[in-house]
């Protein structure tokens, strides 16, 4: 099972510049990977190419065994007619009920499941939304700033839990936090914009797991690599 992009180029109609050009990468192994780069560099656009929402690109995107790619983003909402708990109930396959309860607790949502989605704080909404995706079948889950409005501690707890719980799945995590992606991700696809070639380089992350020791120097090395790659 893999996902590979070869020489992708994208230009929106009526715009002057390429968002990216000659963009290539390969995700060959399951793991928690990041898509990183400055605002406006094309992360969301690449995600939409992968899920098939954008067709007007050139180049090649190939995958094997990766039938189900889910794309989640931070502006999604749940319908307003019943509580978060009831909605989760409905979209959880029976076999995953205990997993759901476990996630609810790790995500810090126990006290909120009786509430309507619209009454939640922004970070709470982020978490509820991501949680429901994790209960679905997927081979690849793209998380487009899915935790952007959550505090750092909770975020790390959540990511670590996901890594423990889904060793066989592929993740593509879009975030603007260098420390976080350096520390937690397996590979970091750093986008560099359409003016540079290649438009992307892949930096190996520290891929920190629950309970591991973390070498500060190594982490800083990775962060530096990422910063260098994007500039």
């Amino acid at each position: 099972m893999y996902l590979a992009a070869q020489g992708l180029a994208l230009k929106y109609p009526n715009t002057a510049n390429y968002v990216f050009k000659n963009l290539s990468f390969k995700l060959a192994e399951p793991g928690f990977n990041a898509l990183f780069g400055p605002s406006g560099v094309g992360k969301t656009s690449l995600a939409k190419i992968i899920t098939g929402e954008i067709h007007t690109f050139s180049g090649d995107i190939r995958s094997k065994g990766m039938q189900t790619c889910l794309y989640s983003y931070n502006l999604e909402r749940l319908p307003g007619w019943s509580s978060v708990g009831k909605h989760l109930e409905k979209i959880t396959p029976p076999a995953r009920r205990s997993r759901r309860d476990e996630l609810i607790s790790v995500f810090g949502l126990e006290e909120l499941i009786g509430k309507r989605f619209s009454r939640l704080s922004l970070g709470q909404q982020n978490r509820v939304n991501l949680l429901r995706y994790l209960l679905q079948d997927f081979h690849l889950l793209i998380m487009d700033e899915s935790l952007a409005n959550v505090d750092e501690l909770t975020r790390e707890k959540i990511i670590l839990k996901i890594k423990d719980m889904y060793p066989e799945a592929y993740f593509l995590y879009i975030s603007h936090n260098v420390v976080e992606v350096s520390k937690l991700c397996n590979e970091i696809i750093v986008l560099r914009g359409g003016l540079k070639e290649p438009s992307a380089t892949v930096v190996p992350g520290r891929n920190f797991m629950t309970g591991q020791e973390m070498e500060r120097a190594e982490l800083e090395q990775t962060m530096l690599e990422i910063v260098n790659a994007s500039s």
Binding site: L70, S72, E76, G80, I91, Y133
Partner: protein, 250 residues
Amino acid sequence: MLLHRRIYQFFIIYLLAVAFLFLIKYGLDLSDYVIPGPVDVWHTGTREFSRYFSDVMNTMMVAVIGQVISIFLALLVGITGRQATWIGSFTKAAAYNVQAYPIVALAPIIFILLGDGIISRLLIAAMICYFPLLLSVIGIMSEPISDIEHFYRVTGRMRWQLEVKIRAFENMNKLTTVVAGSATLAMAGTIVAEFIAANAGIGYSIRIALFQSDLAKILIALFLIGITLSVYQGLLEVIGYLIEKGWAAK
């Protein structure tokens, strides 16, 4: 409170309109047979009140049923017609076309097919009332709410019922406005049906009053129609408000 307001607002409007008529009457010095005088209107009112009132109630009943039917019809067509498919667009075209024909031209065909009686009356009321509902429902139903629908779509959970529910819920305000507003159309529709089919209700009474050229009676009928409708509409609005509150609450 809403109800309250509706009613006294109606009184103001009615009195203004009647005052305006009298102004014209006395301003242009028109004789009583063109525009009846206040005394005549008052006498006609006291004389015909209870009879017209029961006529209006009769009409109202049909109108309410007609409205319910047309809400269903509009939802049905609106939900089918929301899709950008051929069948969706065909349903819409059919629904629009039927509406384009003035009821007076269709009436003879309706009577040939359905005979007289309550069915024809209901059908005509529903036809007049459903179209505006339909327009709103189609407008609402054909606009995706992607923030909410995305999840269901990508996880393959989207059913048309869910789609409809999401869009209806997010546009609840607009829907209740239109439903409450369409009450007036149902009423007007029923009256027209009674007028051309001439069998019962206030439409029938208006027809006779027109035949007798009795404007005083028409003014009384309009008064009763207006007041009844204000009450009904006020009630609908209160109900809509409660439903909305109930659905959104917790």
